[in-house]
Symmetry: C2
Subunit: 158 residues, 2 copies
């Protein structure tokens, strides 16, 4: 079974996550860019995710809200800087609980023999910010999200 | 005379520039956030800079156009993520000649004894992108911009 690989070298500003998905990249790219699909895989399955805004084009805003079972809400937002179909997404990411702490994320899609390798690079404003994100559980969170994404892929109609 | 200090450690994603200005930070912050003032210091004095958009608030877009004497135009744009008056600005920066290559910039203003230290940290998507910006002349460009900014400060009314 494919697993998330996370690399965060000591002292670096980057977290690089890689995972292979058993589907062509049309499906993987669509899962990441279709507002109707994002709530089905983004974040842990114990919370519900609502897409408040998602304008998938350069300069377009996105905003997701996670609602826990007790009603607590957490907002996340950012701006798309590049949307190259099937190839690459570049966007910023900000957790609204820590305003002004921003990361810049570049997601690259590579297809080989019908499988898609996703390389997700996040660069932070400082090593401290990056290490804080790791301590906050980024690896387990991303791992669960991407397992949900993998499970969703067979249902995605192109 | 105050000089620009630029630090770019080998293999890092960051460029950190620091300079002291001989004015309180109200003036320095205003020079960086007032659309009427930006064309007077941003970029080299040999080109003219036009502020196309500049919405200085979280989520607000900015776009500047530099026009060379032969009429050639270069566009730059980004989005503000944090605007903390007199303290800090966080925004993205993209040169339109290299779409999808984005940097995340954090500018911090510290005042001591009537002088303002500006710390400008840029993080890039890769070491290659960062090194490309250095080769493109970031240090001399920033140095000239900030000298123009210093010269402008005495004229700034609060």
């Amino acid at each position: 079974m494919a697993k998330l690989n996370l690399v965060a070298e000591p002292g670096s500003y980057e977290i690089r996550m890689t995972r292979e998905f058993d589907a062509p990249r049309e499906q993987v790219f669509k899962a990441m860019t279709d507002p109707a699909l994002v709530p089905r895989w983004w974040g842990p399955s114990s919370v519900s995710t609502v897409v408040d805004r998602m304008e998938v084009k350069p300069g377009g805003m996105w905003r997701y809200v996670q609602r826990e079972q007790d009603g607590t809400e957490y907002g996340f937002h950012g701006v798309y800087h590049a949307v190259e179909a099937l190839e690459r997404l570049v966007f910023t990411f900000e957790f609204e609980g820590m305003p002004g702490h921003v990361l810049l994320e570049t997601v690259t899609f590579e297809e080989h023999s019908g499988k898609t390798r996703v390389i997700d690079s996040s660069v932070f404003q400082s090593v401290a910010d990056r290490d804080g994100m790791l301590r906050a559980g980024m690896e387990s969170g991303a791992s669960e999200s991407w397992e949900r994404l993998e499970a969703l892929l067979p249902e995605i109609q192109l």
